[in-house]
């Protein structure tokens, strides 16, 4: 077991990390969710994984966070397995959950202070500065003493990002960061993700089906389709692509005369 002192010493190197996913497969019973996923993310890159609901994006993200063990293949962060606690000791890794996943029994301030407090990373005044700075960046310092149950969905998401900021991570994983948010707040979140890369040189992996967010902030985009990465390209290449799966995902046609629903109308 690595002591807190060792942890702090090891984390003197705060450079962003590289992520490598090789032939990753995951099955739950007879259902295969990931079917041999391969990609690499370079240090400091913003890598966005897009795809329709149920294509395996969140499961992929859970593997990157070390919350799932692959059925086959591997996930490595700077050549270390994220499932092992020693890897989490060595690298600060933050996951912004879709629901926020704030601890409901703690106030917003205590949620943010939990990581530095539990790892004894700094003194109490330093911890307070660190927490309040993160809250200020997200413009939610007024909510410091509120309980998570008192917050709206958007606020919870901002608190979750602030909690990730307090960790001063080398890798941030975002699970649908703009879902349940209005367009203005979604734009703010996009700006925050981009700024974090600029200011902290953090590696970011974003799972989203928000087309505007992905095309705006990504260095590279991967489109996930039926448990595999269909295509990896820059946003410009994505826009220019004539691949039918990409064009259908980026520009879905809304058919108000869809015969499927016309038949429903007739039977009702």
């Amino acid at each position: 077991m690595v002591s807190s002192r060792e942890t702090i010493l090891e984390r003197q190197d705060r450079s962003p990390v590289a992520v490598k996913v090789a032939e990753l497969e995951k099955s739950y019973g007879s259902q295969q969710v990931l079917k041999g996923v391969n990609f690499e993310v370079t240090p400091g890159e913003i890598f966005v994984v897009m795809g329709p609901s149920g294509s395996g994006k969140s499961v992929l993200l859970r593997h990157l966070a070390g919350l799932e063990t692959p059925s086959a293949g591997s996930v490595t962060i700077n050549d270390c397995n994220p499932v092992l606690p020693v890897t989490r000791n060595r690298f600060a890794l933050a996951l912004v959950f879709q629901s926020g996943a704030l601890l409901n029994s703690l106030s917003v301030y205590d949620n943010l202070a939990l990581y530095p407090h539990e790892h004894r990373l700094c003194s109490k005044p330093e911890m307070r500065d660190r927490v309040m700075r993160a809250l200020r960046i997200l413009s939610i310092e007024h909510a410091a003493q509120k309980m998570p149950s008192e917050l709206s969905g958007g606020m919870r998401k901002r608190v979750a990002i602030a909690r990730a900021l307090v960790m001063e991570p080398q890798l941030i994983l975002y699970d649908e960061p703009t879902s349940e948010l209005d367009p203005t707040m979604a734009a703010t979140i996009a700006e925050i993700i981009a700024t974090l890369r600029e200011e902290y040189a953090v590696t970011s992996i974003v799972v989203s089906h928000d087309r505007d967010l992905s095309l705006t902030i990504a260095d590279r985009i991967a489109l996930m389709h039926e448990g595999n990465l269909h295509h990896i390209a820059t946003p410009a290449e994505f826009r220019a692509s004539d691949d039918p799966i990409i064009t259908e995902f980026l520009n879905p046609k809304i058919d108000l005369q869809n015969p499927r629903f016309k038949s429903l109308e007739a039977t009702s």
Binding site: G66, L67, R88, N89, F97, A101, L102, E118
Partner: protein, 251 residues
């Protein structure tokens, strides 16, 4: 059938690993004193009223039943010994553990299961904060501290209930002084100590079951409800089964 046996062994194994991991974090105990105190308050102080009411009437009923039977043999003087020993050795620790399982164990399972389902436990893992340190260890230490206190309180109240019945139920006709004198003569310190050992083991097992089932829950509200039921049922079975074996070992 094989699947159920596998599931039981899997759950049993994960309970042992969880307990091992929690106690491996014991050096961190001084840093979680506040949490231990909070859980001690929730487990102990808030359980006291229900324990007091139940154990008072258990002592009273025991004295009443003993009085009805023993007076026919002219042995009503021994009500104190019977109530005293029964409560100290058996009813005190068993009833406190049953109340703990129903009142506290169920609440802890529901809380941890809800945290698991809402990804709060996953959030702790990604922050490299072992859930065993933050969620399990304070509860285990709190229950170990609180169980002897609750059991001694339960014993005293049950004895008091027995004494009140002896004093005020006319057909028994035994004074409270005579009740306590007989109790003092026949109930030894060892009897009380055996009861406290039982209570510690019961409390520890109930807490492990509650935490383990809570942290293993997957799914949604339905699974949380099922987890609570499972936790209470398993705790009751464990208490009564262990009671037999501990009694045999201590005899």
């Amino acid at each position: 059938m094989i699947a159920r046996v596998y599931q039981f062994l899997d759950s049993f194994g994960s309970g042992i690993i969880m307990t091992w991991r929690a106690f491996a974090m014991l050096p961190a105990a001084p840093r979680i004193l506040k949490r231990i105190a909070e859980h001690g308050y929730r487990i102990g102080y808030t359980s006291m009223p229900i324990i007091a009411i139940l154990l008072f009437f258990i002592g009273a009923v025991l004295a009443l039943q003993a009085g009805i039977t023993l007076r026919e043999f002219g042995a009503k003087e021994f009500i104190g010994a019977l109530v005293g020993a029964s409560v100290a050795r058996e009813l005190g620790p068993v009833m406190v553990a049953i109340i703990l399982a129903g009142r506290v164990g169920s609440a802890i399972t529901a809380e941890l299961a809800s945290m698991r389902v809402n990804s709060e436990v996953d959030a702790l893992i990604t922050m490299n904060i072992p859930p065993e340190r933050l969620l399990v260890l304070p509860r285990l230490l709190a229950v170990l501290l609180v169980m002897p206190v609750l059991t001694i309180l339960a014993n005293l109240i049950a004895w008091f209930g027995g004494a009140i019945v002896c004093e005020y139920v006319s057909f028994i006709g035994l004074s409270a002084d005579a009740f306590f004198l007989n109790l003092q003569t026949y109930v030894s310190f060892q009897d009380v100590l055996d009861g406290l050992i039982k209570a510690e083991i019961f409390g520890f097992v109930v807490m492990i079951i509650a935490c383990n089932i809570g942290l293993r829950t997957r799914g949604g509200p339905r699974e949380i409800g099922l987890a609570v039921t499972k936790s209470v049922v398993l705790s009751l079975v464990a208490i009564l089964t262990l009671d037999y074996f501990i009694t045999k070992v201590l005899a």
